[in-house]
Symmetry: C2
Amino acid sequence: MSLSLVSSNRCFSGTQYIYRHASAATQTDMTFAAYIPPQAEKGPCPALFFLSGLTCSEENATVKAGYQRLAAELGLVVIAPDTSPRGDTVANDERYFLGQAASFYVNATQDPWAAHFQMERYIAEELYDLVLGALPVQAGKIGITGHSMGGHGALTLAMRHPERFASLSAFAPVVAPSQVEWGQVAFAAYLGENTDAWAEHDACALVLSRGWKGDMLIDQGDADAFLETNLRTPLFEAACQQAGQSAQIRYQPGYDHSYYFVASFIEDHMRFHAERLTA
Amino acid sequence: MSLSLVSSNRCFSGTQYIYRHASAATQTDMTFAAYIPPQAEKGPCPALFFLSGLTCSEENATVKAGYQRLAAELGLVVIAPDTSPRGDTVANDERYFLGQAASFYVNATQDPWAAHFQMERYIAEELYDLVLGALPVQAGKIGITGHSMGGHGALTLAMRHPERFASLSAFAPVVAPSQVEWGQVAFAAYLGENTDAWAEHDACALVLSRGWKGDMLIDQGDADAFLETNLRTPLFEAACQQAGQSAQIRYQPGYDHSYYFVASFIEDHMRFHAERLTA
């Protein structure tokens, strides 16, 4: 599998790359961002996957979150994938929470989505193996985080693939997709009406059924317009308490759902991951 | 004159505001970004104007430069204006370096530009006075910086209004508009063919005719695709040397013209201004 370079920009003494490649999982071309810190000149580094939210691509976090400064300081590679397959031949929907840029990071089993929406396999297997093979990334030292739908992706992919991810955090994650409109619409479309299948991709259900092997850090703005409707962080707090799951869940006063919130707390998350990945 | 709030986002314990207001200078509505740091709760703070480059609005620096983190640490208000008047009734051009988003921060004297392109008056007088009156900004403690065309704006407005600006820096500025395509096209359109008028808005000419009262910091990427054609930093180095002007001009190896470059060095610039504005 070969990587095609889209762009390359010097940033904080490292380099911000955008790559494109043909994906076997999604049967489309896929684009992702890879920040390579200056420490990579001396050898492979730990890496952090950042999964983005609804309406986003690999670009949003890469230009808005400010992760490069910390990555350069801490010696972390940062991989920011796109949020879904894209293109004229790929199924889509007019609603912003279904279809292109709204994969919810599952492998769809239902038509017309199954042909391309294989994002769990893409992220946790194909892209994961690709960056291990093609970029200066240390095996076994890969963490995962994400924002909103990407926070859901981080929580669920980490709990479903604990052998692949070594540290976990999330910004304003969708924690109970089976219980909120965004997730119910997406899961019904991608996975069908059998809610047993949904539970395998619902962080609140997974923390009870599988749990997570380590601790985790979650930040949530208390002025987030989606908190009461689609995020519902207290459900995850309750599930963690019931499961005895270690989780630091912080409500940040006055913060909303934007990248201004993510940028404000990216440093804490990067340090959280670096401590666990370099231990 | 009243400010209309477009958006407000909590960011690094302060608030990122976007405001709109009717401008007497441009005879249009104008939009600007204002970051208010947490220190403003206790009283007025020094402020930094950030002027943006061609094709940009107030948004680019505000979401990409990462200035809020430093502004919050240092207690600086940051004002990021738009780069020109805009609208269907405002003159424009197909070239990206003339017309809307390409004001070059001058007061146009030529038709069809003169009706709205009064950006020097807008920035250095109207908006300046507006933020002093309406926002928690300390009189006499306002610095100015900018990127590319906005770097030109910072250098020329500071030298033309030394009583208004107390500190000066620039990222990859257009230093000799009279000698490069971007500036020649814009100045001919806005100011007419008399190049005596151009010299009053050309940093290389101004540093010889007026100079700047203090020191200044300029960063320029040595891999910037516009360095040889439209930026030509060495001309400004030579002019400063000839004029005996104090200026720290740094060539940053491998950096290009993007906001990845600006973000990499914004901390140095913010600290440079804070030291001079809080002295």
